[in-house]
């Protein structure tokens, strides 16, 4: 039994079959990559895991519990964090404040009113936030207004916000899209380090094959809403079906 079990999931948008018969099992403490051409349904699948979409058919179990019908904040509290395809951060807040919010959510749950004590008195949380910022090399930017940062920095911040919650399952939707080569390599190193040091399972959607092959323990190829093959990276590279799916897209 994997930490995440997706069974027979299907999802339609009007007449469009975005997902059909998706079966996926992600083993604990591994990195599972989902690849596939544009419009294959990768983001849709991710949205079904975090409560943004409810699949029409099938089931999604996380640690033996169904996530279907739960709202996104409940699913996060179960231990799933998500990085979006376009960075979602609190643009009006500083980098430091962006880090504090997930820490409060983790410590206090979905709703707790701390209306009187100053944020600045939360010494241990501040320490944690700074440690995480250090890890992603952003400590010097802690007072920056986060909306004014580069896209790559927003990405790293979003990732740090997810990681600081020490999720059991981290979902990444194209985390290196729009990043410069050097930033991409830094991200790979960071994710490798996270994977080695923590008890964390990663499911990653990625177009950049360099990223996929440096990180993934298992790869699922999705095409037109259905998994084509699932295998270890070394078997995926030369797989005829995969070539076909990607070449098919080019025509």
């Amino acid at each position: 039994m994997g930490i995440l079990e997706v069974k027979d999931v299907g999802k339609r948008f009007g007449g469009l079959k975005a997902l059909s018969d998706v079966n996926l099992s992600v083993a604990e403490n591994t990195c599972h990559a989902i690849i596939g051409p544009n419009g294959a349904g990768k983001s849709t699948l991710l949205n079904c895991l975090v409560g943004k979409l409810i699949p029409d058919t099938g089931s999604v179990m996380f640690q033996g519990q169904s996530v279907l019908g739960r709202s996104p904040h409940e699913i996060n509290q179960m231990g799933i964090s998500r990085v979006f395809q376009t960075p979602e951060i609190f643009g009006d807040l500083t980098v430091f404040e962006n880090m504090m919010i997930p820490l409060f959510a983790k410590r206090d749950g979905a709703y707790r009113l701390h209306a009187i004590e100053s944020v600045m008195n939360e010494k241990s949380l501040i320490e944690e936030a700074e440690k995480m910022l250090e890890e992603v090399n952003m400590l010097d930017k802690r007072h920056m207004h986060s909306a004014s940062m580069s896209r790559g920095d927003k990405r790293r911040l979003e990732m740090a916000m997810c990681l600081v919650q020490s999720p059991k399952l981290l979902l990444l939707d194209e985390p290196t899209a729009g990043m410069a080569r050097a930033d991409t390599n830094n991200t790979i190193d960071l994710l490798k380090q996270i994977k080695d040091e923590r008890d964390i399972t990663i499911a990653i959607i990625e177009h950049d094959m360099h990223v996929v092959f440096s990180l993934a323990d298992r790869i699922t190829v999705l095409a037109q809403g259905t998994p084509l093959v699932e295998d270890a990276p070394e078997n995926i590279k030369g797989h005829p079906k995969v070539q076909e799916a990607y070449l098919g897209e080019a025509h």
Partner: protein, 399 residues
């Protein structure tokens, strides 16, 4: 100091000094000089400054932090006033129970209205709050006449039961509101040369309540709760996926701001024990929106400045009539005098709304951060001139 950092303590201290010295600050002109009509240091107006300051501080907790724009907050102020007057009628003329009841009842009202209105966001939320406020106004104006005394407004009478007090004083008049014996309308006049300053008990009670409200607002702004509210304004989607439920936070902010409005309404009744439906009208709700935006939404001191500016204009500009204008420009030749008075006429007296409208437009266009941003820009300009060092120009976020 009091759990605030240095910057916030300084701000609180400045506001405290200004409010405590207000009778001097607002009366800079000798009593019988031509400029005496610009004096705003009389109790009635100063009370209005701080009471509307409280109203706007509370409104800012909702609008400034979460971005949810309510067009119905006057309803909570009105409810607060009615509750307080009922307390004066039934229980005692002491303002403490009256104000406490105002806050509680307004809070309960806000809980119900907020719960329903917060099912929608953006313009739909605003319209829902407006609809609720207009319903409350209609109820107060006609339907609930036994409770509100309809058009006439709720007033004290000589045969109020008043359990912990007397229906009438020994000389047969209606008793006055007091704080454990200290009468709200009692005042002391200090005359120094041609100047005269009035220290009213009512004003100081309101001012101290305002300072406490302001202090509480600073604590909320700096707390994790305040940060959540700003996060709600910034990105609700991210908040959801960070494991937080924005709904109850927003509702809490709505109720808190409703309680502030109730407090303001209660204080109004404590200064002058009557309550009328017009306090709940949509224009009154719109006014607090203007105050907050004019001063600077989301800033600490902005709403207080905005409230002061608007109430000053409402009371001082509106008193400048043609006679006054002719008096000022009498030194000019008759033709020019008439022309100038003709030009200024639409902007003063009953036309003060026009001036307010123009100022509001200018501020929103050129200073989106309100009067506070104006102040910051001026301060920055001076800093730069003084040091001529780009690093000294403060880039700290708005206060």
């Amino acid at each position: 100091m009091f759990g605030l950092d240095k910057k916030d303590s300084t701000l609180l201290l400045i506001v405290a000094l200004l409010t405590m010295l207000a009778p001097f600050i607002f009366n800079p002109f000798p009593t019988d000089s031509g400029l005496a009509q610009f004096n705003a240091g009389y109790p009635d107006l100063m009370q209005r400054f701080v009471i509307f300051g409280i109203f706007a501080i509370g409104f800012n907790i909702l609008f400034g932090l979460t971005g949810y724009l309510s067009f119905g907050h006057a309803a909570f102020l009105g409810v607060g006033s009615y509750s307080a007057v009922w307390m004066f009628k039934l229980l005692s003329m002491n303002i403490v129970p009256a104000i406490l009841l105002s806050v509680v009842i307004a809070g309960l009202f806000a809980l119900v209205i907020g719960f329903v209105s917060l099912r929608r966001t953006g313009i739909y939320f605003s319209i829902l709050t407006l609809a609720f406020a207009q319903m409350s106004f209609a109820l107060a104006y006609s339907v609930l006449t036994p409770l509100t005394n309809g058009e006439t407004g709720l007033q004290l009478t000589l045969d109020d039961p008043r359990i912990l007090g007397s229906s009438a004083t020994a000389d047969g008049s209606i008793p006055v509101t007091n704080l454990f014996g200290l009468e709200m309308r009692s005042a002391y006049d200090l005359v120094i040369g041609p100047w005269s300053f009035t220290f009213s008990a009512g004003y100081y009670v309101c001012a101290i309540v305002m300072l406490l409200s302001f202090y509480l607002a600073i604590r909320i702004f700096r707390s994790p709760f305040g940060m959540m509210l700003r996060a709600i304004k910034s990105n609700q989607q991210r908040l959801n996926y960070t494991g937080l439920n924005p709904k109850p936070y927003t509702l809490a902010a709505f109720v808190i701001s409703g309680m502030y409005a109730g407090l303001a309404g209660g204080l109004m009744a404590a200064m002058d024990p009557l309550a009328g439906a017009e306090r709940m009208q949509w224009t009154a709700s719109g006014e607090v929106v203007l105050m907050t935006i004019l001063g600077g939404a989301g800033t600490l001191i902005g709403p207080v400045l905005g409230a002061g500016a608007i109430k000053y204009m409402e009371n001082i500009f509106s008193k400048i009539n043609d006679n006054v204008l002719h008096g000022w420009f009498a030194f000019l030749p008759d033709g020019i005098e008439d022309a100038i008075v003709f030009i200024i006429h639409p902007f003063v007296g009953k036309g003060w709304h026009l001036t307010l409208g123009i100022i509001f437009m200018l501020v929103v266009t050129f200073l989106p951060g309100g009067l506070v941003e104006g102040g910051q820009r001026i301060a920055r300009l001076f800093n730069r001139k003084k040091a001529d060092d780009p690093k000294s120009a403060s880039t700290e976020p708005a206060e």
